[in-house]
């Protein structure tokens, strides 16, 4: 979650920098280079945090989710490794040249480097979301009773997992919106203050048009379009909509609801007819099952999973038992549902009806947190469309700096994309509970056998360190923004366009003796 604070901004800024630098190369106007440099500096600070938190991600599966790593590593590890080979190598190798290559490369050469960096950032998101999409919709794989793990059967299906593709488009667009709002809000601040006007206005034009396109794409290509694919994704939608009972198609959409007395089905709600069906199924005639019905399905699958579990025990005891293998092949897809019972008893096969009912009820994620975060996210998504459409219009009319209250208003919107993005992250991950891999592996069953204190120590260290670094990063960003592109840090020497002066000149007499 910490990592995901920095990544969307990296994705968004990298592309916008590349766009600005393209304009610079095409027009040759220096203001565009200054803009690229200025946003690039902020990008760099943010990227450093992304790297710092990202290196942990690569190892934490093995550290905290040991059984998960064994159970799904055959499928899940591949996209992660490919991400490193194809995307992160590209991004990390060229980002150094982006910062250090200005005077060593031709204009076009440097532009290529910037685009390659941006491309790396976007590819990176693609592979990570293929991995994540598989957790939501585990296609192209099968459980192997001999090795006790999920193994790849069809890698192409993993790549073109509809959930992963929808997630990729949605998440990357969200990153673009994030970058656009970031650039836009800071540019508005410059205009309000009357500083760096040329750079700010140009940045606003890019941000408004890019932001509008991205905001449209983020809403229209929302990642719930893939949710209909599987049983639990339907459960997630039902929970997001707090729809306990199956609604006839096209389902209404609930704007507002009050939870019932037992925290369950709503006692009062305001509904708009048809819209729900449109949002969730993109059609007017597909039915959206309610929570109660889905819990019923889960019960059936748990019973089937118990058979799979028992068959698996027999195969483990005697690998040549053909009957057990046949039985397992028939029921293996429900093995994960059987494992849900592990919370209540070791010998899954002997579970009582009450335990089965309990395990089925466990498949319902927290309804009301999902209901409200979804509304926050959607509200913000539509708001961004309106916001950028307004500014796009104003930009086309040349009304960028005329309305000071509106500029101030825009400055204070800066945190909104992060609220929307973290809401989306919450919906995706919390909505997947109780599964870590949907229908395959329950979260509680996937963790490492770590000691309580190991977790306390590691978690507190990371939270403390990340928080300190986050504060430092924000302070630094504010400093950089305050200094602005007109600071001597960025002012190109008038006589020699290629020459810059560093703010922090090395080796002044004051700091010469430092540390010796």
């Amino acid at each position: 979650m910490y990592h995901f604070i920095f990544v969307p901004l990296t994705i968004g800024l990298s592309v916008m920098m590349a766009i600005m630098e393209s304009v610079y190369v095409m027009t040759g106007r220096d203001v565009w280079r200054k803009a690229t440099l200025f946003w690039g500096t902020l990008f760099g600070v943010n990227f450093a945090m992304g790297v710092a938190t990202g290196v942990v991600m690569e190892f934490q599966f093995g550290m905290n989710w040991s059984y998960y790593s064994h159970y799904v590593g055959d499928v899940f590890g591949a996209p992660l490794a490919i991400e490193g080979l194809m995307a992160f190598f590209l991004e990390a190798t060229f980002i150094g040249l982006f910062f250090f290559g200005w005077d060593r490369l031709s204009k076009v050469g440097h532009l290529a480097v910037t685009w390659l960096t941006a491309l790396g950032a976007n590819f990176s998101a693609l592979w990570i979301l293929i991995a994540n999409g598989w957790m939501q919709n585990p296609v192209g794989s099968k459980f192997n009773p001999d090795t006790m793990r999920m193994e790849v059967t069809d890698f192409v299906a993993v790549l073109f997992n509809p959930v992963a593709q929808a997630k990729f488009v949605h998440t990357v667009s969200a990153g673009y919106v994030c970058g656009a709002v970031f650039i836009f809000a800071i540019s508005c601040l410059f205009l309000v203050r009357g500083k760096h006007v040329e750079l700010a206005k140009r940045s606003m034009v890019v941000a408004a048009s890019f932001g509008l396109a991205s905001a449209l794409s983020v809403v229209v290509l929302g990642d719930e379009s893939g949710y209909i694919a599987t049983e639990h994704q339907k459960m997630k939608i039902a929970a997001m909509e707090a729809s306990y009972h199956t609604e006839p198609a096209p389902a209404p959409w609930t704007i507002f609801a009050i939870p019932g007395p037992d925290g369950g089905a709503p006692s009062f709600s305001i509904q708009v007819p048809w819209v729900g069906g449109l949002i969730t199924t993109r059609s007017l005639n597909e039915e959206l099952p309610g929570i109660d019905e889905l819990v019923g399905h889960a019960q059936t699958r748990i019973r089937s999973g118990m058979i799979a579990y028992d068959a698996l025990q027999e195969i483990r005891a005697d690998g040549t038992n053909a009957d057990a293998r046949a039985l397992f092949d028939e029921h293996w897809a429900d093995l994960g549902y059987g494992l849900l019972l592990k919370r209540y008893r070791e010998d899954v096969g002997n579970a009582t009806d009450a335990e089965i009912a309990q395990a089925a009820a466990d498949t319902v994620p927290g309804v009301w947190p999902l209901f409200w975060t979804f509304r926050i996210m959607m509200g913000l998504g539509f708001f961004f469309i309106g916001f950028f459409a307004l500014w796009f219009y104003r930009a086309s009319r040349g009304w960028l700096e005329t309305n000071k209250p509106l500029l101030w208003f825009s400055v204070f919107l800066l945190p909104l994309p992060w609220i929307a993005i973290e809401s989306g992250w919450f919906i995706a991950e919390f909505g997947r509970q109780p599964w870590v891999v949907e229908g395959v592996l329950p979260t509680f069953y996937a963790a490492s056998g770590l000691h309580f204190w190991d977790l306390v120590i590691s978690l507190s260290f990371f939270v403390a360190l990340y928080s300190v670094l986050l504060v430092i990063m924000i302070i630094l960003m504010v400093k950089i923004i305050k200094a602005g592109p007109q600071d001597k840090l960025f002012s190109a020497d008038e006589d020699n366009d290629e020459d810059y002066v560093v703010a922090a000149l090395p080796a002044t007499s004051a700091n010469k003796e430092l540390g010796s």
Binding site: V45, V55, G62, G73, G84, D146, G449, A503
Partner: protein, 382 residues
């Protein structure tokens, strides 16, 4: 499965080699930056000198660290049980490494953005920790792999680790840590001597020569210790390289000095330690003779030799278990499925040459010595 043109056994062997290449890649490439970070407070005395060092490795260190990230990803993809057992087992050691590594990107980026002596001094130490701690702990981890880790797996392939962090700090493991630290510091010194001038380069030559000689002695000592001080593991049951993974289906025997058995079976493997010693000696000579390129090359060969020595001694083991030797992970029983190994091989064969090409190009663009004057030109300098 019959459509896969390479058999399972061959693929497992290839992946063992590829994993070795990636880890050696990280040790050589990442070793540059870790070594420079470790030397930062000592080789560079003034703020200007420290900025020079940061900017020697600054443009390329991010790409170098990806070797580690990809190494982790490849362990996950090609040897999932190893990934699951080692990282959860060496939990607190990994936490220490990660906390130290976290300091590096922010250290590079944040340090020179604020002109304040205390701020910069703080980040200098953060960067030192970010170089010193991982260099040491990676070696300690390899030492513990040679000793075997206290873990076992049950019938559902769930791993249980019964050790703790302080059990990792045995004398032999610490010796391995020092070998690792020594070779990385030598590499860092080779980089500094190659890319700077004046007193900075002189100090790097002194430190590099000292650490090079020390590493030769430590590496030799580790060899003696392996021969006479610790047990090596060997599989005593028949191995079917094409079978499905099953870490519990073999018998394993421990013998004193057993890790040297491979050198008797495959005499060519002696090349590993020979390259280690020769590279270190070459680096020391190169530093003294002021041969920049020779030094860097020799020091990289040394790292190649030393890391390869550890891998070859262990073969075919990846992570032996000290408490239940039968549960030890080997490359035969801790790999991914046949299909995954094959797909990943295709991907790697395609991308690795491309990565090497553009990395070489970036290094070429950024070549040349770094001086205080050159820093003033770039607003993004660290």
């Amino acid at each position: 499965m019959s459509t896969i043109p390479l058999d399972y056994e061959t693929l497992r062997l290839i992946w063992w080699l590829l994993l070795g290449i990636l880890l050696i890649g990280f040790a050589i490439m990442g070793g540059r930056d870790l070594g420079v970070g470790t030397l930062l407070p000592f080789a560079a005395r003034t703020d200007a000198e420290r900025r020079v060092l940061l900017n020697v490795v600054g443009p390329t260190w991010e790409g170098n660290q990806v070797w580690l990230i990809v190494g982790g990803g490849v362990i996950f993809a090609a040897f999932p049980p190893l990934y699951a057992v080692s990282f959860s087992g060496f939990y607190l050691a990994m936490i220490v490494i990660l906390l130290a590594l976290i300091l590096r990107p922010v250290g590079f980026k944040f340090r020179s953005k604020v002109k304040d002596d205390r701020w910069r001094a703080t980040w200098d130490w953060a960067l030192f920790i970010g170089g010193f701690v991982p260099s040491l702990i990676f070696g300690v981890a390899v030492g513990n792999v040679l000793l075997g880790a206290p873990f076992h797996v049950d019938g559902t392939m769930r791993a249980f680790y019964t050790g703790n962090f302080f059990m990792l700090l045995t004398p032999f493991a610490l010796l391995c840590g020092l070998v690792s630290l020594g070779m990385i510091v030598t590499q860092g010194a080779a980089v500094i001597a190659g890319r700077t001038t004046g007193p900075l380069a002189e100090r790097a030559r002194t430190y590099g020569s000292l650490s090079g000689i020390a590493t030769i002695l430590l590496f030799a000592l580790a060899g003696v210790w392996i021969a006479f001080g610790i047990d090596g593991y060997a599989i005593t049951s028949a191995v079917d390289g094409n079978a499905a993974i099953n870490p519990l289906g073999k018998s394993v025997e421990l013998t004193r000095g057993g890790w040297l058995a491979n050198y008797g079976l495959h005499p060519w493997m002696i090349a590993g330690p020979v390259l280690g010693f020769a590279g270190l000696a070459g680096a020391v000579i190169g530093l003294q003779a002021r041969l920049r390129l020779v030094t860097l090359l020799a020091s990289s060969v040394a790292i190649f030799g030393i890391v390869a020595t550890a891998g070859l001694s262990l073969f075919p083991f990846l992570l032996p278990s000290s408490t239940v030797p039968e549960a030890s992970l080997t490359l035969w029983d801790a790999s991914s499925s046949h299909l995954t190994l094959f797909i990943m091989l295709l991907v790697t064969v395609f991308f690795l040459p491309i990565i090497l090409l553009y990395t070489a190009w970036v290094f070429r663009v950024m070549r040349g010595t770094v001086s205080t004057q050159s820093l003033e030109k770039n607003p993004n300098a660290y």
